[in-house]
């Protein structure tokens, strides 16, 4: 049986906001399937989900002091801080692309979980737990899903490595997965580099995707990157919004 077609778009250090805009554009205007892999982003950036409130999720005074950009993305889910040591993998599919897969969030996460199981192939005790990817009991990949009437998008940020100082910009979220069990951020996450090489992870992910799809590699210079699209949901928060959030931040912060 012929495998469904998928465009493979490998990016290198594309700014995360531009990546999110690209994904949103492809989700809404393309009828093709896409796998986007962005090997890092340029500057440390905080990315919240669609309903994220900076006063609840961030140490806003530190964020403002250090001029860390804050993005609210189109998909739901939690808050991450990303930088050059984050690897991003996104799948954008038509709902009927994968035979036998009901386009239900739970099943999509399970399907991608099986894909990454083959990437790790027994290394590090990979598992999927409450929408997160774990090695052992620690999270190394966070997922967010966006669904339209005909398509779905799942993007993942993988912690290749991280700086402890960056984690201090994030508060312990009020809504956390059960398996977190109140652990601080540094006790809850792990570094992927302790388990697999960077190029190895990307190569194995492409190999795993290639077992499900007929991949067509595209290049960063291809023309469609220049397409413009209005009504993009993912956006940068303004200084005014962050300053307003800082005013409402409780006096006693809960650090992660």
């Amino acid at each position: 049986m012929r495998l469904p077609l998928m465009n493979l778009f490998k990016l290198n250090r594309m700014p995360i906001l531009r990546q999110l805009h690209l994904e949103e554009m492809l989700m809404r205007t393309s009828s093709e399937n896409w796998c986007i892999i962005n090997d890092g982003t340029i500057n440390p950036t905080i990315v919240m989900g669609i309903s994220g409130k900076p006063q609840e999720l961030l140490e806003t005074e530190s964020v403002l002091r250090d001029e860390i950009p804050v993005i609210r993305r189109m998909s739901g889910g939690g808050t991450v801080i990303v930088d050059q040591d984050t690897i991003f993998v996104t799948f954008i599919c038509n709902k009927d692309t994968i035979p036998g897969l009901k386009p239900d969030p739970q099943r999509i996460i399970q399907w991608t979980g099986h894909l990454y199981e083959t990437v790790f192939n027994g290394i590090g005790n990979f598992s999927v737990c409450e929408n997160d990817y774990l090695l052992g009991e620690r999270k190394f990949g966070g997922n967010a899903l966006s669904i339209t009437s005909k398509r779905w998008l799942q993007h993942t940020s993988f912690l290749w490595d991280y700086k402890k100082s960056n984690m201090s910009y994030l508060k312990l979220p009020q809504k956390a997965p059960n398996y977190r069990q109140g652990r601080s951020h540094l006790d809850f996450i792990c570094r992927m580099k302790d388990y697999i090489s960077r190029s190895g992870f990307i190569d194995e992910t492409i190999r795993a995707a290639g077992s499900h799809f007929q991949l067509t590699p595209l290049h960063q210079k291809d023309g469609f990157l220049n397409q413009q699209y209005e009504h993009l949901r993912s956006r940068l928060l303004t200084i005014d919004e962050l300053e307003e959030a800082a005013v409402y931040t409780p006096a006693v912060a809960t650090r992660v």
Binding site: I50, S51, K102, Q106, S146, I147, T148, S149, W152
Partner: protein
Amino acid sequence: MASRLWATRTASYLRVSLISRNFATVVKDLKYADSHEWVKIVGNSATIGITDHAQDHLGDVVYVELPEAGTEVKKGENFGAVESVKATSDIYTPVSGKVTDVNTKLSDSPSLVNSSPFEDGWMIKVEVKDAKEVDSLMDADRYSKFCDDEDNKH
């Protein structure tokens, strides 16, 4: 068993149909889109929300993004989004027109979409441009079958 009997009597009182699997409800006097929104037309005013089937599949709703009053919406196009613990899903308007009212209660109580999808969980009201747009929508019986067919597809 007792809860099923209660549900049947309540359904009869409210003039709704019960689908025996999962107790998903369909309200008879509404029209439905294949993207699982419902619309109630009174004069040239349309009230729009998502169906019980939709909220059941979404899971617990934690956030609803809605347009501002005065926004023009077009039939079949996305007008907002619903975030649940599982995913963010686009919501589509079954009719064209101008948004006249937005359910601001959903800002503090997004769970109304789960607990009362056809009443307190309404999302927007639209001043309809062309009432005939609803002719292409499904009635309750067709929508019930549509949901069954969709669920059985996978």
